[in-house]
């Protein structure tokens, strides 16, 4: 049984009231949902809260899942909704402080790959939210273009465009970092 049909089967069992299927879904999907929230520059504490809130909402609206349809777009559409509510509720100043305290750990004297990852963190943080979430869904959660389009209520073309723009920004930023860190000629 492949991953998609497995999730579809578990969702169908969950709708029938199978507590084992509910627990299996939570164990299977929580790590990637948690990562989705963390990659959106939400603090660890808030990501934990959002994960619980997402499962609560999934439980409340589990009847809206249509059997046979892919589970991930349905799940991520609800997770986005929870995250948007969170942004509305969160106090801006407080979230900024927490971002500094708990966000990406950016080493000052990082070298090589570590420096690139740190730079990537900075660049991701600077991306528009709509581009960042598309990148996270595509590259971190491993969703297809069609699944991301469904989850974000947009077209496949729009998802491609957002991903392309995000990659352009990341490419330019990382190339700039390489140029800046490359050894220069002349007198030491």
């Amino acid at each position: 049984m492949d991953s998609d049909s497995d999730l579809t089967f578990l969702m169908a069992r969950y709708q029938l009231g199978d507590s084992g299927a509910a627990a299996a879904l939570v164990h299977r999907l929580s790590p990637q949902l948690h990562r989705f929230f963390l990659m959106q520059y939400i603090s660890r504490r808030h990501a934990d809260d959002l994960l619980q809130e997402t499962w609560l909402r999934i439980h409340q609206v589990r009847h809206t899942y249509r059997r046979g349809q892919p589970v991930l777009p349905w799940l991520y559409a609800i997770a986005r909704n929870v995250r948007v509510d969170h942004y509305r509720k969160a106090h801006r100043a407080e979230s900024r402080e927490e971002r500094l305290e708990e966000g990406f750990d950016i080493p000052q004297a990082a070298q090589g790959d570590m420096a690139q990852e740190a730079e990537l963190g900075r660049l991701l943080a600077g991306l528009p939210e709509s581009q960042r979430e598309v990148i996270v869904m595509l590259k971190v959660s491993g969703m297809s273009l069609d699944e991301v389009a469904r989850a974000t209520s947009s077209s496949v073309g729009s998802v491609k465009q957002k991903a392309h723009r995000a990659y352009e920004t990341l490419r330019k930023g990382l190339a700039g970092m390489r140029t800046a860190s490359a050894p220069r000629g002349g007198l030491a």
Partner: protein, 237 residues
């Protein structure tokens, strides 16, 4: 830098994120497992969409019959053959959109704003081609009457659409509100086409069509108020 390198960096960055707390996951799993009860899934999309079409068309026809089908009697066969299929198509697309907005992760046939803009343009093109009386007698007074009648007609239509979609969950309440308002507005426009015998070009283009965006905007406002209130209730304290 190649895309593959960025992909690898992204994966490494994701892997570097702290793992979710196992105790938290166990707690959520226990909580959901203990309250897992069988639920009745929503009907298929085609059934929801079909029910919405039926509600809107029947409401529009009933409203027009109550007020009198004067416009329908005055229309030529060409007018009917051009106007009602376009309205039917728009109602069908709006119904499919409403059904999609009520189910998370559903593919949308069009974006709500596209429906609003293209719907208005399509109707304006049809009316502009069919009606050539460019008089503007009692333009505002008659127009306000038609706009009001169309919006009043949209109220029961929107109540009907709400009833059909009451078990749905809109992840974007404003888009869903606009779609439902636009669908109800199309019921209002359909009623006006059957009822209103004023075929002056500008009257039909300005006042009949404006029911669609005004009703859509009102739907959005109602959805915003509803979402605001539910957030207020959900907030602690």
């Amino acid at each position: 830098m190649k895309d593959q390198e960025i992909d690898n960096l992204l994966k490494r960055a994701a892997g570097a994120q702290p793992e979710v707390d196992a105790a938290l996951v166990d707690g959520v799993a226990r909580s959901l497992g203990s309250s897992a009860r069988p639920v009745r899934p929503l009907p298929p999309a085609w059934l929801l969409g079909g029910a919405l079409v039926l509600v809107c068309v029947s409401m529009a026809v009933a409203g027009a019959m109550i007020l009198g089908p004067f416009g329908f009697r005055k229309m030529s066969a060409v007018d009917m053959a051009a106007i009602f299929p376009v309205l039917g198509l728009l109602i069908w697309v709006a119904s499919a959109l409403c059904a999609a907005e009520a189910v998370p992760g559903s593919p949308r046939p069009v974006a709500p704003w596209v429906l609003g803009v293209c719907g208005c343009l399509a109707l304006a093109a049809v009316f502009g081609l069919l009606f050539h009386d460019y008089g503007t007698e009692s333009f505002v007074a008659q127009g306000i009457r038609c706009l009001t009648a169309g919006l009043v007609q949209a109220v029961p239509a929107s109540a009907g659409t709400w009833w059909v979609l009451r078990r749905g969950f809109a992840v974007n309440s404003l888009a869903a509100g606009f779609a439902q308002g636009a669908l109800a507005g199309l019921a209002g426009v359909t009623m006006l086409e059957i009822h209103c015998p004023n075929f002056e070009t500008w009257h039909v283009i300005v006042w009949h069509i404006s029911v669609l965006p005004v009703s859509g905007a009102l739907g959005m406002v109602v959805a915003w108020i509803g979402a605001h209130r539910s957030r207020g209730r959900a907030a602690p304290g």
